[in-house]
């Protein structure tokens, strides 16, 4: 019998037998891309604390990843992650959650922490829909799409560029990929993990069940195909006019800059205040 074991098996919580996702859901591909990045950096799951909100994407780390995982309330993972990072400045804190979680209800925590430029990695799985609750419109659902709460088509302008919003808010690393780009995605995640600052990665991910099937954009494979067709690199995109870019997905790393990082700034403040060199917020016991 074949003894091949999945290389990331060791990163998965032993008590988990299956992913919780629907057949063909992109969330599993994102999960694997994250694990591959961690493996690729030669890091251990114990170097991380994962934080997620509520939604299908939020179940990527919870309970799947064999690590410290905080599965929080809907929309708030970044706010919880803030406290974790301040308490454990030496750990990598990674937030994995959906577009509804991070950009609808959680939008404020996203922009405020991008502003703060606190070191953490935020992976926003953008499937353009509320998957877990049954296919309602998200702020990322294109205009005119019929969802369960918009049976006559959505009538709101949508966030066509959440990466752009996060850049405007002040993040120091921002990239966008789709589940048709797992290798590139993994590379960007690696960079994000190493970034001293707020690193945001938007992944367009197929939800074949609530988006594809209901909205008639097809099954998992058709959706992947569509991602491939519509994607265009930043470099190429720059050559095109806004009209030509319509419906295209610009992928790549948009921003990678250096600016003051919040944990370091806090450390400095505490040094100033206490008049001595002392361990940051990590001063007490535990």
């Amino acid at each position: 019998m074949n003894e091949l074991v999945h290389p990331y098996h060791c990163f998965i919580r032993p008590t988990v037998t299956h992913t919780t996702f629907c057949p063909g859901c992109g969330d599993g591909t994102v999960a694997q891309s994250i694990l591959r990045a961690i493996d690729g950096l030669g890091m251990d799951m114990d170097d991380f604390v994962f934080v997620s909100g509520i939604g299908c994407a939020a179940w990527i780390p919870s309970p799947f990843f064999n690590a410290d995982v905080l599965h929080t309330t809907h929309g708030r993972p970044i706010a919880f992650a803030f406290g974790i990072k301040m308490g454990l400045p030496d750990k990598k804190v990674m937030v994995v959650s959906g577009d509804g979680d991070l950009v609808a209800i959680g939008g404020n925590h996203l922009i405020q922490n991008a502003r703060r430029n606190i070191e953490m990695t935020v992976i926003c799985v953008n499937n353009g829909i509320y998957g877990m609750t049954g296919g309602q419109a998200a702020p990322t659902t294109p205009m005119g799409v019929k969802t369960t709460t918009t049976p006559y088509g959505t009538f709101e302008n949508f966030f066509e560029d959440i990466s752009g919003l996060v850049i405007a808010a002040g993040a120091s690393f921002v990239a966008r990929w789709t589940t048709a780009h797992p290798r590139q995605l993994t590379n960007s995640i690696k960079k994000a993990i190493q970034k001293k600052g707020f690193a945001f990665i938007e992944v367009l991910s197929q939800c074949p069940v609530q988006f594809g099937r209901k909205m008639g954009t097809g099954n998992a494979v058709q959706m992947l195909e569509d991602y491939k067709k519509r994607s265009i690199s930043i470099k190429e995109a720059k050559k095109l006019s806004p009209e030509e870019l319509r419906d295209r997905i610009v992928v790549g790393e948009f921003v990678d800059l250096d600016k003051p990082e919040m944990v370091e700034e806090v450390t400095r403040m505490i040094r100033r205040a206490s008049g001595e060199v002392q361990e940051v917020v990590d001063a007490g016991r535990g």
Binding site: T20, F21, C22, P23, M132, V209
Partner: protein
């Protein structure tokens, strides 16, 4: 017939709740009976647990919960451990024989239907395994009239799926 309590257990995507709705609708709207249908399911949309309860009665139904199932329909292995203890002594246990293997015999009748494989092979769509089971159940128990059930199917499933569902239900009628 006084009060019949039916419990259906399976996983999300198998049409467990639809089965409950069909029984309830047929009883309530077309068979002159009283019916209450309730349900619960876990958050996973596909593959998570799903349960439907139906109570059918000639009289007004006060207590709306299934306490001891006269009829227990199990459509997934997971459901066995969860619900088998809910069956009434001498009750009827209906299983999808393709997916439910771990049922030992007990103080109940078993109606085992290879619904998924019939649906797969004959209808090319395993999604209608539940209708096959309903057909077999109705045939065996005469709980509701076939006409009421067919009316309920026509009223409840999307138009384009109607024929397939009716076909599966009728296939089930041949099975027990």
């Amino acid at each position: 017939m006084g009060r019949t309590e039916i419990l259906i257990g399976g996983v999300g995507g198998q049409g467990v709740v639809l089965s409950g709705i069909l029984l309830g609708t047929a009883a309530s709207l077309y068979d002159g009976k009283q019916a209450v249908q309730t349900q619960s399911y876990s958050s996973e949309l596909r593959g998570g647990s799903a349960r439907a309860e139906v109570i059918i009665s000639e009289d007004r139904i006060t207590d709306p919960e299934v306490r001891r199932a006269d009829i227990l329909i199990l459509m997934a292995e997971d459901a066995v451990g969860r619900y088998l203890n809910k069956i009434k002594p001498k009750g009827l246990l209906v299983i999808d024989a393709d997916l439910v293997k771990g049922v030992t015999s007990g103080d109940y009748d078993i109606l085992a239907i290879p619904a998924t494989s019939i649906a797969d092979k004959e209808m090319n769509n395993i999604i209608v395994a539940n209708l096959i089971i309903l057909g077999a159940l109705i045939k065996k128990t005469k709980l509701l009239s076939v006409e009421s059930m067919e009316k309920a199917i026509e009223a409840s499933v999307p138009k384009k799926a109607k024929d397939l569902n009716l076909k599966a239900f009728r296939r089930g009628l041949e099975l027990s």
